[in-house]
């Protein structure tokens, strides 16, 4: 339920070429075969009363309000479960139907509280609407019969209540939990009149519920309702915008009462999510109004000084003067900046423009460096473009889904739900991951193959799979011959015995036969799609692995149509966009190298500035150069490098060495401890611009309120550039997008007007594809022919040793987001109050560690302390943690190792030792020490 009513056609669309023509109440209508009578009626403008039907769920047929009469058929079939037939003549309004519908509503209301006027769903309740629609005037049964009015309310979930007294047993919540979300946490308990919705016999919070909100969304009454609506009242206006958490990029209706955000409701027309959501996007928006938000600019001369709140002009002049001063003393290249994947395309664009045009160098990088930079490199080398090949919808056409180094049910939950739906329909699943992630075995899903490899051996596995495909004659020769190049050299390489599953079995720990079977399945099982995450990229061979997957996809012909492809699951809401916008030191917007004179000329012309033809520093290079002394000032937009980057001691040393650190963020984060200027940023609720998600979909981010800081982030940047003497002026963010479009061929057709008209577009969007490009490389690769690249497996330098016998790998959890700056400031902490170390019971036992013990985690670069959780989803010899809480300091132990091509850190492999903690917690010591300095 939500304020902005979106049309509900009652049952899902049944796509298909064949159509059927019928008459509903005398109106002719033609619909796809298999469509329900209810949907056909709705499409012809006739709303048949309904309660249990909604078009996000399969027809259920339980409420019996939607009965109709059909010429030549007996009785009164339910229109939701009756498919259309050629020539059918349907009547939706007859005296008989009216009487039956009133009878149904009379029964419902005889067991429902009569508190409409004081009910929190008043005005937003389908039961109320239907009573009106059928003309219910009396309840002859009275109200003294058996009823559920004394049922208790379950308030255990921090975001929504379940008031069983208002439940009409329509099962929409139960079905949404299964069909839409795929968690199956809810069920109907009891039988007949005793039927009631149950979270598996316990309360919602103790159940399997993942708090995605699908049940709340589906509930037609006040039974499942947001606590915020109960507390604040029904919202009065609605703004369609885009979630600012992960790279799925869900569309939401932000619903407000006055200027107060009451709730976020997933938007059915959202191309990425089509009406679904997760606990973060749906509920965890409270950080935007958290008291920790800094709303005033602050400066200080030294990081040991107190912060001084100042006005914007002072802060901007202070910053500009310092930057210019440092450049005058240490050279043009002594300063640089980091763009944020959390901000809009427009905000990113202006930062890189400021750096290239006003700073006059290419020292710009983005947090994609530490996550998906290998994706950019690897896919560009092989396919010619630095992005995933498919739209999310494509997965519905996949027959074999291979998930590598990704944990979609936690990291990309809304896409995971789509994937799980397809898997429940029978698609086959191959999971390649050291951990037994939830997807391997979840309700109605079981992976055909889980290749539980040793961390760091991805390339060996993908090569072995390709070896099987090649040597067993499973290559799609016509695809390869028509569409690809360099195949023969690659084939000679991959056919080498050292790439066989048998040869790498000992190294990877995966039985050769299992690899062979998985490879055969992928090559022969129909449409094969690869989805991957940071478990692929954050390795010393991350780029190699991306190319290895691209090779496998090309060799099996799985590129260039629906249901196939190579698809990165992007971490941040706008990591795709920040890369697109020219955030890498070697690339101008649109992934064009700075050394390309023609391209640079176009930008120089537009920007009125001379641009450097040499690449600038990448983030780790900035740290190295800071310690070495040639790099003196850093502008950081919305990224907490002091917590999220590896080998924190090294990062902290670099930050301390800088003369000027400018932090633009919502909160005083860990990096701000090293900063001299703090420029308060805006939350997504205040932003006006666009985000680009993992499927290249450009979505509008619309402001639901004015910037609480008094200034948009793009304005701050423009004013600093101006203060540095470079003219940069925009009246509105749409002008920034117009400039991007003018400079970037793949964005040529993008404008706010286009986005507002189409809802969203997927780039490339230009005259060849005015409405965007859902699937890439359809008629040919962007680079012409797909290139096979030889991908030798080179093990990481990081090895387990006697001193550090275990391998640490890291990841995320559903309820928390990255460094937790946002989610820790919401009720999501109820699910994940601290980071824990998952360890196999065997590894724990030999160390005398019990479940819940405090343990010390040590690597060659540092140590930290956290609580151990025994988990047999871990293989022996591998431990796992998350990095959501700064106190954990997971990155205290991660090393300087990085991807050879892009310097993406090797977060996923660190040799460690784990032992029971006896001494005081080292992180506390570390922090005490830091505070003392």
């Amino acid at each position: 339920m939500s304020l902005l009513k979106e049309p509900d056609l009652g049952t899902p669309a049944k796509p298909g070429p064949a159509t059927v023509s019928l008459e509903v109440d005398g109106l002719p209508v033609t619909v796809p075969e298999g469509t329900s009578v209810m949907r056909a009626a709705a499409l012809s403008g006739i709303d048949v009363p309904k309660l249990c039907a909604t078009d996000s769920l399969e027809a259920f047929g339980s409420c019996r309000l939607c009965l109709v009469e059909i010429d030549g058929r007996r009785g009164t079939p339910a229109s939701c479960t009756t498919p259309v037939a050629e020539g059918m003549r349907v009547s939706t309004q007859t005296p008989k139907l009216e009487k039956l519908r009133q009878g149904v509503m009379e029964l419902y209301i005889s067991d429902h509280p009569l508190d409409c006027l004081t009910c929190s769903a008043n005005g937003d309740c389908e039961l109320q609407d239907m009573s009106g629609a059928v003309g219910l005037r009396q309840v002859r049964y009275g109200y003294d019969g058996a009823n559920h009015l004394d049922e208790k309310t379950d308030t255990s979930n921090p975001y929504f209540d379940f008031d069983a007294s208002k439940c009409i047993s329509c099962s929409r919540c139960v079905r949404a939990c299964g069909e839409v979300q795929g968690t199956f946490a809810l069920t109907i308990e009891g039988r007949g009149f005793e039927s009631k919705v149950s979270a598996g016999g316990t309360d919602f919070m103790s159940s399997e519920c993942v708090s995605c909100g699908a049940c709340v969304q589906a509930c037609p009454t006040a039974t499942l309702q947001e606590k915020s609506v109960i507390q604040l009242g029904m919202p009065s206006r609605s703004v369609i915008t885009t979630c600012a958490y992960c790279g799925v990029g869900c569309s939401f209706k932000a619903e407000l009462r006055g200027n107060e955000l009451v709730r976020m409701v997933p938007y059915k027309d959202g191309g990425a999510n089509e009406g679904h959501s997760c606990v973060k996007g749906r509920f965890a928006f409270g950080y935007a109004s958290h008291p920790d938000r800094v709303l005033t600019p602050m400066v200080r001369e030294s990081i040991t000084d107190e912060w001084q709140p100042v006005d914007w002009d002072t802060a901007i002049l202070f910053t500009a003067a310092k930057l210019r001063d440092i450049q005058s003393r240490h050279g043009v290249g002594a300063i640089g900046g980091i763009t944020s994947s959390r901000t809009t395309n427009e905000e990113v664009y202006v930062v890189q423009k400021m750096i290239r045009a006003a700073f006059g160098n290419n020292n710009v990088d983005t947090c994609a460096r530490v996550c998906h930079s290998p994706t950019g490199y690897g896919l560009k080398q092989t396919f010619g473009t630095s992005a995933g090949t498919q739209d999310f919808r494509s997965v519905a056409k996949s027959d074999v889904i291979m998930v590598i180094g990704a944990n979609p049910t936690d990291g990309h939950p809304v896409f995971a739900s789509r994937m799980k739906r397809r898997l429940r329909e029978g698609a086959k699943l191959i999971v390649i991951d050291p951990r037994r992630i939830d997807l391997v075995r979840s309700p109605h899903i079981e992976a055909q193959h889980h290749l539980q490899l040793a961390p760091g051996t991805n390339v060996a596995i993908v090569n072995a799979m390709a070896h099987v495909v090649l040597t067993e004659g499973l290559v799609d020769r016509s695809f390869v011959d028509e569409r690809c190049e360099d195949f023969d050299d690659w084939a000679a390489f991959i056919a080498r015995p050292e790439n066989s599953p048998e040869a790498v079995e000992e190294l990877t720990g995966v039985p050769a036969e299992e690899v062979r079977q998985a490879a055969r399945l992928f090559a022969t099982g129909g449409n094969g799609a690869i989805y991957y995450g940071l478990g692929v990229t954050e390795h010393s061979q991350g780029s190699t692995m991306v190319m290895g997957m691209a090779n496998l996809a090309m060799a099996t012909g799985n590129i260039g149509r629906e249901g196939v492809g190579v698809n990165p699951l992007r971490g941040q809401n706008n990591v795709q966009g920040s890369c697109d916008m020219g955030s890498f030191p070697h690339e101008l917007p649109g992934y064009r190298h700075v050394s390309d004179d023609v391209v640079r000329g176009v930008f120089e012309n537009m920007w009125g500035s001379t641009l450097q033809a040499e690449p600038g520093l990448r983030i780790p290079n900035m740290f190295d150069a800071a310690i070495e002394g040639s790099f003196r000032a850093l502008y950081v937009q919305g990224e907490d490098i002091a917590q999220s980057d590896p080998n924190i001691k090294h990062v902290h040393a670099a930050l301390k060495a800088l003369e000027l650190v400018v932090v633009q963020d919502l909160f005083l984060n860990e990096t701000a401890k090293f900063a001299h200027v703090f420029l308060p940023g805006t939350s997504f609720l205040e932003k006006d611009g666009t985000f680009t998600n993992a499927e290249r979909r450009i979505n509008r981010v619309r402001p639901v309120m004015a910037p609480r800081t008094g200034k948009h982030e793009w304005q701050i940047v423009a004013e600093i550039a101006q203060a540095m003497g470079y003219p940069m002026q925009y009246g509105h963010p749409s002008e920034i997008m117009d400039e991007i479009a003018a400079l970037t061929p793949t964005f040529a057709g993008v404008s706010f007007a286009t986005l507002d008209k189409l809802g969203s577009v997927q780039w490339p969007c230009n005259e060849n594809a005015p409405e965007g490009t859902p699937i890439m490389h359809m008629d040919g690769f962007v680079r012409g022919r797909g290139r096979f690249v030889q991908t030798p497996f080179v093990p990481t330098r990081e090895r387990s040793t006697r001193k550090y016998p275990l391998i640490l790998t890291t990841g995320r959890i559903l309820s928390q987001y990255n460094v937790g700056a946002q989610t820790r400031r919401t009720a999501n902490v109820a699910w994940h109050p601290e980071d824990v170390l998952e360890i196999h019971p065997h590894d724990a036992e030999v160390r005398g560690i019990n479940d819940g013990d405090e343990v010390v985690l040590t690597s060659r670069v540092g140590e930290t302390s956290l609580r151990a959780v025994l988990a047999d989803r871990m293989p022996v010899g591998v431990v796992y943690t998350t990095f959501h809480h700064p106190v954990t300091g997971a990155n205290v132990v991660t090393t300087e190792n990085s991807d050879w091509a892009t310097n993406c850190p090797e977060y996923k492999v660190t040799a460690v030792q784990v032992g029971l903690r006896t001494a005081p917690k080292p992180v506390e010591e570390l922090q005490t020490a830091m505070a003392a300095e």
Binding site: G61, S62, R64, A78, L100, G103, Y108, S171, G192
Partner: protein, 513 residues
């Protein structure tokens, strides 16, 4: 060697048949006897019915209580001597002789688990005939026989099979509905306990006809003996190569046990239950023949439907089709129960009147009082008044009388019955057993009880009778399945024929008794 038959049917067991068998063995002393545990012939007033094989035939004694064994043996039971409990040659008893036993031909006659006995009495003839034909010919044979579903709905079995046969797919199922939950019905149980091979043979024929490779028999948990017998029989059948890996055609069979929900006798709820889910009714379409168990094409038939198939194949469609009347062809296995003098199984061609069945064969009420009402077709069947029993037992005649034949259960009441209470019970039963999915059934049944209570208490009787009428219409027209849809049938028939029982001052009703 003297051969004695002592039934293993649970009706006989509940009356001490095991003890009778033990006593007989004891009493035989040195005399060589063999005791065969057969099914029940279905003359329940004679159970335990002990039979002795003599030159004259099988001489029956019954009902034999364990205490009477010694006396009977002393009187010469082993030689078929006369006794007050002696019924003479069982096969010659009019009750049996007047029946046309096709489905139940071997029940009570053979050792249920002896494959040789089965074959010796005509078993497997149907399957052998079937395998000589093409699957299409088998479907046609069943269609031509006029066989309709014996579970209650009476849908032509051949048409259902044809749909399944015509729906392409590598995996199809035969599901046998043995969740015999209707009051006054026990034929499924007696067949499974007395001649399980017939059901197996029927399912194997169905599987061959539609191209199914797996079968499930869904038996209610209240039938532990039937479950045991059926499982043993399946093991024997596999051993014999009638089904399973050794069989010529690919088909195997499994027993699944319900968990006590009446609604799981509804075919789609049964499929849900077989899939391991809550027994919840599915909306149709899609029909199970196309989208059935685990979404695959599935034949769902009742025990008696499937068990009629071997006889049809063995004797030919024409012979079967010659029996019966109108559009009700072949035989139906009627079950006489309730307040009746002689209860049990009576298999006869469609068309006999209810009157004749109850009075001629059932012998009227057990109490000796006049019959007042008869409920046919289970708890959702209509109540027929004593003066309305001259009704031929066939589907359409019953439908025309506002009643239904259902699964063939006949429950007799004498003149002390309170029909207001019976109407209330119908609603109460529905409230108790509703799956809870659709509103008319879930809420309506509860309100139905309340409204009848108000009527019986004399509270606004006219308004509440009108309301009850509307509710019955809503449940009939609006319910998702037959559970809610048929509940009004006993209510309305009670109101129609016994309206006096609903008033506070009525002789039998109004809580005055």
């Amino acid at each position: 060697m003297t051969t004695i038959y002592v039934p293993r049917d649970s009706a006989a067991l509940s009356l001490g048949a095991d003890e009778v068998a033990a006593k007989l063995r004891q009493a035989a002393g040195d005399r060589p006897i063999q005791i065969i545990r057969n099914g029940s012939h279905g003359m329940l007033w004679l159970e335990p019915l002990v039979e002795v094989v003599t030159e004259r035939g099988r001489i029956g004694y019954g009902p034999v209580e364990p205490e009477a064994v010694d006396d009977l043996v002393a009187a010469g039971l082993f030689d078929g001597a006369d006794h007050e409990l002696c019924q003479g040659v069982v096969a010659d008893l009019p009750w049996l002789k007047d029946q046309t036993r096709l489905c139940f031909a071997r029940v009570g006659v053979t050792d249920p688990l002896d494959p040789d006995d089965y074959v010796a009495h005509g078993g497997l003839a149907g399957l052998r005939k079937a395998l000589e034909k093409t699957p299409e010919e088998v479907v046609a044979e069943v269609t031509d026989s006029g066989l309709r579903g014996r579970g209650g709905a009476g849908f032509p079995a051949g048409i259902k099979w044809k749909t399944v046969a015509g729906t392409p797919g590598p995996l199809k199922f035969i599901c046998c509905n043995a969740d015999e939950g209707d009051s006054g019905t026990f034929a499924d149980r007696m067949l499974m306990e007395g001649d399980p091979f017939t059901l197996i043979e029927g399912m194997a024929i169905a599987a061959y006809a539609v191209g199914a490779s797996e079968g499930y028999i869904y038996i209610r948990s209240e039938y532990p003996d039937a479950v045991r017998t059926m499982r043993e029989a399946i093991a024997v059948a596999r051993d014999q190569g009638w089904i399973g890996e050794k069989a010529g055609h690919r088909f195997d069979l499994h027993v699944r046990v319900g968990a006590g929900a009446y609604i799981c006798g509804e075919e789609t709820a049964m499929l849900e239950s077989l899939e391991g889910k809550r027994g919840m009714v599915r909306a149709k379409p899609p029909i199970p023949a196309i989208t059935g168990l685990f979404g695959k094409p599935t034949v769902v038939n009742n025990v008696l439907t499937l068990a009629s198939v071997p006889a049809i194949l063995a004797g030919g469609a024409a012979a079967y089709q010659e029996l019966g009347v109108e559009r009700s062809r072949g035989t139906q296995v009627f079950q006489l129960a309730g307040n009746v003098a002689r209860g049990g199984i009576f298999e006869t061609a469609f068309g006999m009147t209810l009157e004749k069945l109850i009075h001629t064969y059932g012998g009227g009420t057990r109490t000796g009082r006049p019959v007042r009402a008869v409920q046919v077709g289970g708890p959702l069947g209509a109540y027929l008044p004593a003066d309305g029993l001259d009704l031929p037992m066939e589907y359409e005649a019953f439908a025309a009388a506002g009643a239904m034949l259902g699964h063939g259960g006949v429950v007799v009441f004498d003149d002390t019955v309170d029909m207001g209470a019976m109407a209330r019970f119908a609603m109460e039963f529905c409230a108790e057993e509703s799956c809870g999915k659709c509103t008319p059934c879930r809420v309506g049944a509860v309100r139905g009880v309340e409204v009848i209570d108000k009527i019986r208490a004399g509270q606004d009787p006219d308004d509440n009778l009108a309301l009850l009428g509307d509710l019955c219409e809503l449940m009939t027209e609006g319910s998702l399945c037959a559970m809610g849809g048929l509940t009004p049938m006993p209510v309305r028939s009670a109101l129609l024929h016994f309206a006096d029982d609903f008033g506070p001052g009525s002789p039998n009703g109004g809580g005055h008794r």
